[in-house]
Symmetry: C2
DNA sequence: CACTTATGCAACCGAAAGGTTGACAACATT
DNA sequence: AATGTTGTCAACCTTTCGGTTGCATAAGTG
């Protein structure tokens, strides 16, 4: 039941959607970087401005921004010595799509009677899903 | 413009929402773990079943599952020696909320004339967002 | 009870993350 | 030209990560 599903696959190809997701999720796993994203959602800002609230060096923040940039979450332009950072919100779509896809499927499975029926079927509900993911 | 906003702050308190997000995002930063989540969205599965497709040891997968469990994405029950893994889809809400919040704000800012006006204001658009994010 | 199945735990390892400091490039100002 | 500002690069250190192997544990099966 429930067609085979497109099946994602672990292709490590650099530049692939998988690789992109790796970077985006990893980038947002750090609280400082998430906070930076949060602040950039309100307004563009320079490295110095962004670094100010935290108790780490500007270099550290510069590194964080590089991570965010490599993940495609932030872009930087130039204004004299300053390099204003801008949030690229489109990347959020990538994550949202991934999340929603599996959330929906899980909820679907949960709300359908399948779960209940399977539970009544007792022990053999474990082997009907072999084609799973990739 | 744009009220102060709840402001998140970098509280490292273990168990806090911030800490939770750290773990969830970090958990999903690994392609194998994302794939496991994908497969679990289709059906519960045991460690062995989950490990089979990958070229790593079962212990490695066991570790991955621990990470997912600590992040609250997966729960495990018992069935004889087997420990069926189940996807806890509610956690997705936490991420979705976080993402949508800032995505929306960024888009709002983009679509409103603020950006244009601020740009015309030239240099002084940088100091109106101090209380940032939450 | 011995044996196989299914998992977890501990120790170890190389690589990557996140931080620091110190030098340096680029531009503005004087 | 000299100086200050803004940001990056490079080297280094420590901690975490993802993987391995080997052994222990738990629970069905002969």
């Amino acid at each position: 039941m429930a067609e085979p599903l497109p099946v994602p696959m672990l292709d490590p190809a650099s530049g692939s959607s998988v690789d992109r997701l790796n970077r985006v999720f990893a980038a947002l796993a750090d609280p400082i970087r998430r906070d930076i994203v949060a602040r950039l959602s309100a307004a563009d800002a320079t490295v110095g401005e962004l670094a100010e609230p935290y108790e780490v060096s500007t270099q550290a923040v510069s590194k964080h921004l590089k991570v965010l940039e490599d993940a495609g979450l932030v872009s930087r332009s130039r204004d004299a010595q300053k390099r204003p950072c801008h949030l690229e919100a489109e990347v959020f779509d990538l994550m949202t799509k991934w999340i929603e896809r599996y959330r929906r499927q899980a909820e679907e499975r949960f709300s359908r009677l399948d779960a209940v029926l399977a539970a009544m079927d007792d022990e053999n509900e474990n082997e009907d899903q072999r084609g799973a993911a990739s």
